[in-house]
């Protein structure tokens, strides 16, 4: 079963979440501060990080940014606020998903499963679109021959979009296909992830070639 690195400064919340996650079958590594989280992550590679945003010292946004520098581990942010600024800030820092406190264990479980599933392999041959090579089997993306490092969410989004080139996906559809959210998912997740993905694969993000916006409808892959 997957290992979760839980970063939460409140002892009761940390204990409660640890207990619930263990009961759900996850291995749990708990950290009290951002500094401890970064240290623990280096020592024991976790499959997913559940990160509280309000931490003493190094805050959750900074922890997320530092994690992203060296790793593509899925990050789910845990916010007590549900404030738009927090969520947008977390997504910009590279988080894959978010949950608002107090979170029901089954909801957290579903989100963790969804981010982990994104790394699942589909077993089809490599495809090339312009300068972009997508290998669905080994989950490798290359741009002009160079490996591109994508987080599982970014990769999954690219795989979903490129599986049906030219087909327009609405944000709602993508939330269901990539994030496995219910119908009231937050479309900002999609927009933030598209921005990050474009920054990695597009030559010019202001004139995207691969991930194109269809105003009023959503996104599509190509035509290249």
């Amino acid at each position: 079963m997957a290992t979760v690195l839980l970063v939460e400064d409140d002892p009761a919340a940390r204990q409660g979440l640890e207990l619930a996650l263990r009961r759900l079958g996850y291995g749990v590594q708990a950290a009290e501060t951002g500094e401890a989280a970064l240290r623990d992550f280096r020592d024991a590679a976790a499959d997913v990080v559940v990160l509280d945003l309000m931490l003493p010292g190094l805050d959750g946004f900074e922890v997320c940014r530092r994690l992203r520098r060296g790793s593509d581990v899925p990050v789910i942010i845990l916010t007590a606020r549900g404030d738009d600024l927090d969520i947008v800030g977390g997504l910009e820092a590279g988080a894959d998903d978010y949950v608002v406190k107090p979170v029901e264990p089954r909801v957290l479980d579903a989100r963790i499963r969804a981010v982990i599933r994104r790394t699942a392999r589909t077993g089809s041959p490599a495809e090339t679109y312009g300068q972009l090579m997508i290998d669905r089997d080994s989950l490798i993306v290359r741009r002009a021959g160079q490996d591109v490092s994508l987080t599982p969410t970014e990769l999954r989004l690219l795989l979903v979009l490129s599986a049906s080139p030219r087909q327009v996906f609405s944000r709602e559809q993508l939330l269901g296909l990539v994030w496995e959210h219910d119908y009231l998912g937050d479309s900002r997740l999609v927009d933030a992830c598209v921005q990050r993905l474009r920054a990695k694969i597009e030559a010019d993000t202001s004139q995207p070639r691969y991930i194109q916006t269809v105003r009023g409808f959503g996104y599509r892959f190509g035509p290249v």
């Binding site: 409140d10 009761a12 919340a13 409660g16 107090p102 264990p105 089954r106 119908y183 009231l184």
Partner: protein
Amino acid sequence: MPVRTRLVIAFIVVALLSAIASSWFHTLIGSYHLSAWLDDVILGPRWLQSLVSTTPRSGHALLRFRPLGQPAPLADHHTALTFFGIEAGVLLAIIAAVALAVSRPVLLPVRRLARAAQRMSGGDLSVRIPPRGRDELAQLVTSFNGMACALEDKVGELEQMESRARQFAGDVSHELRTPLTALTAVVGILDEHPGLTGDAAQAARLVSQEVRHLNRLVEDLIEISRFDAGSAQLVTDETDVANAVGRCLRARGWSNVGTDVPAGLTARLDRRRFDVVLANLVGNALRHGGPPVTVKAGIQPDDRGDGQLAVEVRDHGHGLAPAAIPQVFDRFYKADTARARSEGSGLGLAIAWENTRLHGGHIHAGNHPAGGAVFTVKLPLSAVEQP
């Protein structure tokens, strides 16, 4: 110069001018041998004439009238009356001119004061009038400024108190989330624990049920404090109404709710907020009204003749008490005080109302002629997103 002095001077000037004018007039037409009574009419009684009369300057009069070549004086009543009219006209013109000249500087500050008072009653408490001079009107302006200052301070203080109270409600709710996170995480363990039997199992169920209730209450309080703080934002998408209604009911397991929504009906809505509005209205109807509950949607013309989305949630119970109708959207309002605390937070309808308002629409509560309560939500077909 004080207003009183100005007025006194104005009166003196007017009196002097009229005296001079009548004296001049007397001299001018004196040569026409007016009858004594007309003399009295034009010039006033003898005693007044003696006060203001001067030596007749017939030379002056001759100078004016001789060139016309009319040597004979006219004692004709008509001519006399014409002169009388001219005299009155000249006097009126002089008085009016002086009055205008004097009243202008007096009325100007009064007008500015009136304008300022108007702006103030329109809600702009920052309005002040630059004081000019040191007369009574300047004093009035100073008093007005003082009053505006005091009023602004007081209102500012009240607003601050209110915003502190609202901020407090929001802060408390946020603070409650952390302990609730721990509770919510573990309460499920109690729920499913096979070791608990009898009283312990019942207690565990109660704890778990109330933790859920507390969660809903805190969530609703935070939602409403966002409206109070003005930080609630609309995120709209083109929405298929039938789809949204169906999903809202399915997600909550309300399969017994009847729907009548035409296929292909779309509107630009904030989906989450629309879902909240509908869920709160249907939940309220299921809890407090009688079955069957139905949801009907369609397009209706609004005041300007444009189309608007109308969603009607109706139950078949006893309906709302007429006295309760104006209050149903109040926070924590309970129509039936004897009823035990319901599973809602008491904020559901208030939240529905705020969400509708954010879309630029409104909700109407009433009773159906055939029985049962009807809540009608009217929303513009394309809600405008605030920046």
